[in-house]
Amino acid sequence: MSTSMTSHSARHGTPPLLEVNDLKKHFPIRGGFFGNTTGYVYAVDGVSFHINKGETLSLVGESGCGKSTVGKALLRLFAPTSGQVVLDGRRIDDLSQGQLRPIRRRVGVVFQDPFSSLNPRMRVKDLLAEPIRNYGLAKNGAELDERLAKLMDLVRLPRDAVSRWPHEFSGGQRQRICIARALAGEPDLIICDEAVSALDVSVKAQIVNLLQDLQRQLGLAMLFISHDLAIVEHMTHRVAVMYLGKIVEVAPRRSLFGAPKHPYTEALLSAVPVPEPGAARKRIVLTGDVPSPINPPTGCRFHTRCPYAFDRCKTDVPELQQTQPGQWAACHLHDLPEARNPLSRSLPAAA
């Protein structure tokens, strides 16, 4: 899978901002009297992707597929089991927490729940001052106030709101505070872990627009972890689709939404409502539940629910392969002759 990364760097010349190679996170299951390990949850099992400067990559998939685990492993909220994380040419996954601390400044994070993301016992100014002080970005009180005012302007909140408590704000306003905190260290990358999923539709749109504006204004790269394909289609540059701890397809937005190259992506897209009567996509209903990540299926992990599965899918693990320029899919169908491949259709040239 690392071939996809090298080929990318070779093609564009400039190294990506973030490069993730074969990232794995296996959670041990402890049982018995002495707490010995009885098995593993293969939450993330070999994930590779890259994000360029100023680019949005969306990580999509259903609940429990490991997309949030990827985000938390990147933030080193827990240590990854194996794999490499390279930020701007420097490997960061093997650093100690102490060595990592100054580098944390370059990655901000916004979590899903704006209510539990802010310590209820701290005022907004203390919440925002925490990263500023940690990274030594303000030498004195005046500089700190200046930075706080700038942050509040960036997220379009009134400057005098810094002296209020989190419970005095609505969900959308709280999420703006969370974004301000993520921006406080002047990061290059923001990880949005389901950042708009808990908000209602109108607020969601405002926050998505704010994130897009900030990206243009500050040249931010974004890892947008979401299950909401409608929003992803609206704001992303590229999409990575995850299923049971593996990436099954990575593609630019237009190729992925126009001509998916993996049966799972196709099924996911068919579930997105189309706001035009009569224009509904062909609906592909997957049968059965997501298999357990404790005991994932052999071969292709999707073969138990795939409408096109054939014998090889049960034994061979498919690797990501390039099907179109920039579009990578992990599916054996693309090794078949084109006539027998139901996903061979490519994007209409003038869509």
Partner: protein, 315 residues
């Protein structure tokens, strides 16, 4: 309302049949939720939490009795008066005298000092030590299983038995009683704190703080500790009450404070032999002990309800 309401039997007969007088107009609703005046300040707080008011008042009364015992018309609690043995309560000896002629009233009032000292001392030390152990256990993963197995071991021994064993190893004194009961009560606090720490660690705001480059000691101090204070305070009151009962039990079986220092347990133990003929020797210290423990428990319940409104509804 009855004049304008459509009678139940009459068919509505479609839209045309409806006229203005057929349409029922609802009477204004009575104010179910009367606007309630909420008093501010300490007095209002106590009015809303009667448990705290009553418990706090009784406890303050006991503290005052213990502190001002010499000025409350007491005699020397250890002065023997063989001539005055086992007198019934009277004007000269309000709670009577015991088998050595000592004034029970004076002994009960001075005994409050021991009980309160043990209660507050154990609550204080068990909270501080238990908090530290709980924080270490919640944050240092490899130490957690070792610490928790030790705590399980301590908890499997009834606290009064553990205290007796510890007292047997040391000399009887108030300090040693506090030490023995503290060791027995530490596991309760450390388990509670560990649980709170483990749940707080998973809170997004703690994860966000880690991602913002905050050091672990600062995270504990700024994000974890303030949120453990409420359950800790409540637990401390229960430990205070339990410690007073254990102290009385220890003194009653002769493993507690030395006989020279009057404590409620001592007085009851000495009155036990005469319990059937002179019940007042046991009765007065017992009633003081009950009132004090009740006061502390009421205070604990009140604090629990006041610090966490959700817990009040669940119970």
């Amino acid at each position: 309302m009855s004049t304008t309401a459509v009678s139940p039997g009459a068919p509505l007969g479609g839209r045309a049949a409806l006229t203005a007088k057929d349409v029922a107009v609802a009477a204004p609703l009575p104010d179910v939720m009367q606007p309630k005046r909420v008093r501010k300040g300490l007095f209002g707080y106590l009015m809303r939490h009667p448990n705290i008011a009553i418990g706090g008042f009784l406890l303050l009364l006991m503290v005052a009795i213990a502190v001002f015992a010499p000025f409350l018309w007491t005699k020397d609690p250890t002065a023997l008066a063989p001539v005055m043995r086992t007198r019934n309560p009277s004007a000269s000896a309000w709670f009577g005298t015991d088998m050595l002629g000592r004034d029970v009233y004076s002994r009960v009032l001075y005994g409050a000092r021991v009980s309160l000292m043990v209660g507050f001392g154990v609550a204080f030390f068990a909270s501080i030590i238990g908090l530290t152990i709980g924080l270490v256990s919640g944050f240092v993963r490899w130490a957690d299983s070792i610490i928790m197995r030790i705590m399980d071991g301590l908890m499997s021994i009834p606290s009064i038995l553990l205290a007796i064993a510890l007292m047997a190893l040391t000399r009887g004194s108030v300090g040693n009683v506090i030490l023995a009961i503290t060791i027995a009560e530490i596991p309760r606090v450390s388990r509670l704190v560990r649980g709170v720490v483990l749940s707080l660690r998973e809170q997004p705001y703690v994860e966000a703080a880690i991602a913002s480059g905050t050091r672990t000691p600062v995270i504990i101090w700024r994000h974890i500790l303030p949120n453990t204070m409420a359950p800790m305070t409540v637990q401390a009151t229960y430990i205070c009450a339990a410690a007073m009962l254990i102290e009385a039990g220890l003194s009653f079986i002769g493993a507690g404070t030395p006989p020279i220092i009057p404590s409620w347990g001592n007085i009851m133990a000495e009155g036990r032999a005469l319990w059937q003929v002179k019940p007042y020797i046991v009765f007065f210290p017992a009633i003081f002990l009950s009132i004090t423990v009740l006061a502390v428990n009421l205070l604990g319940d009140g604090l629990r309800d006041s610090l966490d409104p959700r817990a009040a509804k669940r119970v």
